[in-house]
Symmetry: C2
Subunit: 446 residues, 2 copies
């Protein structure tokens, strides 16, 4: 476990834990990620699950091959297996003495003989090559004529050629995908040891929020807006492999907020809120988290998405039900807390930049990084910002990047329109035609 | 409905519908996709579903904005709203007459007054700018001093600035993602009209296949291999937004195969098999599909993945239960059939190149294409192939592409190791340092 005193986190009885850095000094995103990686310890326990059901889970043991793949020398084609002695003889006619479909094995063959063989079937003893059926003519009376030049070993897949027995095929800490499930199955693994699923409680905050469907657009009161963060955060959490409890809008008073957070902490790994982390006054989340544990408020060096909070909410000892919640994980003394800004684009970007990596670390994922692709800007960005900017862009048909005209953090239009962002370093302007770092949204939305 | 006679599809009573093209002429992938797009008509019916539950569904009506976003001029910051008359006066001191949190609305203000205002709160009448609180000093007795130069309109988000009333925000035929759910919610949509979920029946074929877990690696019989296609195909189908019925390994006789396929056709939109589509003899799938409907066998101009089959299996009239299966869609005269090759990499690649687009068309998705990114090859590929190749590669730290050494179609190692493919045109060799077309797996695995 991380020693919290070294991290600048203080227990709440010492009073509000305001940012330990000078207000004007912004925290670098990469530094924040290093801290979050430490905060994510201990990682979630692992469990054994059917290989059918572990897509998008994190593997917690190295996947070793206990076999050679293929297990035996086998045919790469439908055709005829022949002997070394019959190689190199033009238009050689051979007696077809047997057929070897996949899933069976044949008898040895000798000079002058051929075995009809199908893709994947083991090469019979004595054979040294397979001739594709397109290169043969079947003759009357179970004979076959070989029409092409055949080389020794041709169309034979060797035992262990694809995967040798004893090698690590998938590293511990990898996130599984359809192909890795396929390869685990091909090695005989009916179950895999993977991280348990993070349980996340989702709250939104804000008196101005109305649920879509509850009030018609033309009936919306002054200053009211529809809650949109709840929709994309829930979906992003599900895509990140979490089980989500959507607890709705949190009550607008201190005692009730505290009760809701404490209750959620009992059987969730992470409590995620959006809204109420900037330095405004109208919020009960921050004081509640401080009263229930510790809170670390960060001003990040990114745009959009400056305000961000990480904290811990202590669990009430003895009140959890370990039996109902998968063993001992909720006996741990606290639940994690993360507070996102309320502006939709800020909320979205801080989710993918900070929450998603944190959840990955919590599951024991070893390598958590985004794929940068160098691409050319088809836009001007003359006004450098002192923060690291994530500009919403779209690839055009010429393979360069168009910029969404409105980079405001107010609406998600830019995220819907775009197919990724330019990761633009602080104090950097961009000229048309320059190389920039592109990150596709798909590399986040696994 | 497509006129099948024009497509080279023949009813089975005319005998086996072997490829209408000369055996040596391979079908271009893009031509195959154009045909599959036509075969996908009629598309699946639509349904109204809660916006919470439509991630990865295809929108079937244009999403119109019925409101301005933001609805009213509102504050972009926590700060103080002030009047035009008080702009441009250095160190101006104003009387704070009200507070306007988000979700409320204030009274008009006039010269000499300021309203304490929070992010998202509507701008009161009379105010023309907001000063960020960092640029103010709160004084005794509800006064505030403005320390910075303020411009008219500063920190005000205008009504309709992000989304104007009446515009189409998301086009019909778009696949929804977390951001688009967020934007739909922000416009007040509690439900969306989306495509129904494709119901897919999955079969594998092959006597050599053993289920992982059933037999230990050291007990595997000669010529037996573990079934891996079933695992990645099921998972790829789920990621493609399908409901999957995994029907396991299909029985190895003609009558039983026919019965299984016909039964599955009654209440599935698509029947997907792997194995048994190459020109080998040991297979009952092809004759069964021919006997139950029509079959189109393609030899595709791609590597891996040449053999591929599309067909239709007629439903038995009157035997389906429309009430149990979401209305009238299974009254349609046939279910689609797609047969993939058995080699894992071929099966995987034909899935992403052909089945996934077909499923997208079936759901009414309008734009179905993969993102090509030009990147440099960090490898030599001296031997051009006459087919269009999809070479498994991985981005290295220098931003160029490394090639997986074993490009055999036997195992998925290359797909697990790699993070995408080079889409290499027919008859094209590659020299180190040349530009190639990269497609990230993520752009397929939504």
């Amino acid at each position: 476990m991380t020693d919290m005193s070294k991290k600048g986190l203080k227990p709440s009885q010492d009073g509000p834990d305001l940012a330990p850095r000078a207000p004007k000094s912004l925290l670098d995103l990469d530094t924040a990620l290093v801290e979050l990686k430490e905060f994510a310890h201990p990682t979630l326990p692992s469990e054994e699950i059917s290989t059918f059901d572990v897509d998008n889970r994190v593997l917690r043991e190295p996947l070793l091959s206990l076999i050679n793949v293929p297990a035996h020398d086998n045919s790469a084609m439908d055709g005829y297996a022949i002997c070394a002695e019959d190689l190199g003889v033009p238009e050689k006619v051979l007696k077809v003495t047997q057929r070897i479909p996949a899933g069976t094995h044949g008898a040895p063959i000798q000079k002058g003989e051929a075995a009809r063989i199908f893709t994947g079937a083991p090469i019979p003893n004595g054979a040294c090559a397979v001739v594709a059926q397109e290169d043969c003519t079947a003759l009357q009376g179970d004979f076959v004529q070989i029409n092409s030049l055949v080389l020794k070993g041709q169309s034979i897949r060797r035992a262990g050629e694809d995967i040798a027995k004893g090698v690590v095929v998938i590293e511990e800490g990898s996130r599984l995908n359809p192909a890795s499930l396929g390869i685990a199955a091909s090695l005989g693994y009916g179950q895999l040891c993977v991280s348990q699923v993070p349980k996340v409680a989702l709250f939104s905050t804000g008196d101005e929020l109305v649920m879509p469907g509850d009030v018609a657009p033309d009936q919306m009161g002054m200053g009211k807006i529809y809650n949109s963060n709840r929709f994309f955060l829930k979906t992003l959490l599900i895509r990140a492999g979490c089980s989500v409890t959507d607890l709705g809008n949190i009550a607008d008073n201190f005692e009730q907020t505290k009760r809701s957070l404490q209750l959620a902490a009992q059987d969730h790994d992470l409590i995620l809120t959006s809204g109420g982390v900037s330095v405004g006054e109208e919020d009960h989340i921050k004081p509640s988290v401080m009263a229930l544990g510790v809170l670390h408020q960060w001003a990040l060096n990114i745009k959009p998405g400056k305000p961000f909070a990480y904290g811990r909410i202590n669990r009430v000892a003895g009140s959890f039900k370990a039996q109902n919640h998968g063993g001992t994980r909720f006996e741990h003394e606290y639940a994690h807390f993360m507070g996102l800004p309320g502006n939709p684009v800020s909320s979205y970007m801080t989710f993918v930049l900070l929450v998603q990596p944190f959840l990955a670390y919590l599951q024991g994922q070893s390598l958590v990084q985004y794929r940068h692709v160098p691409m050319r800007a088809n836009f001007e960005w003359p006004k450098a910002d002192r923060r690291r900017e994530f500009l919403r862009v779209r690839q055009n048909e010429h393979g360069s990047l168009d910029l969404f005209t409105n980079q405001s953090s107010g609406v998600l239009s830019s995220v819907v329109w775009g197919d990724g962002v330019v990761d633009n370093p602080p104090n950097t302007s961009i000229k048309r035609g320059e190389w920039v770092n592109f990150i596709a949204f798909e590399s986040w939305l696994k």
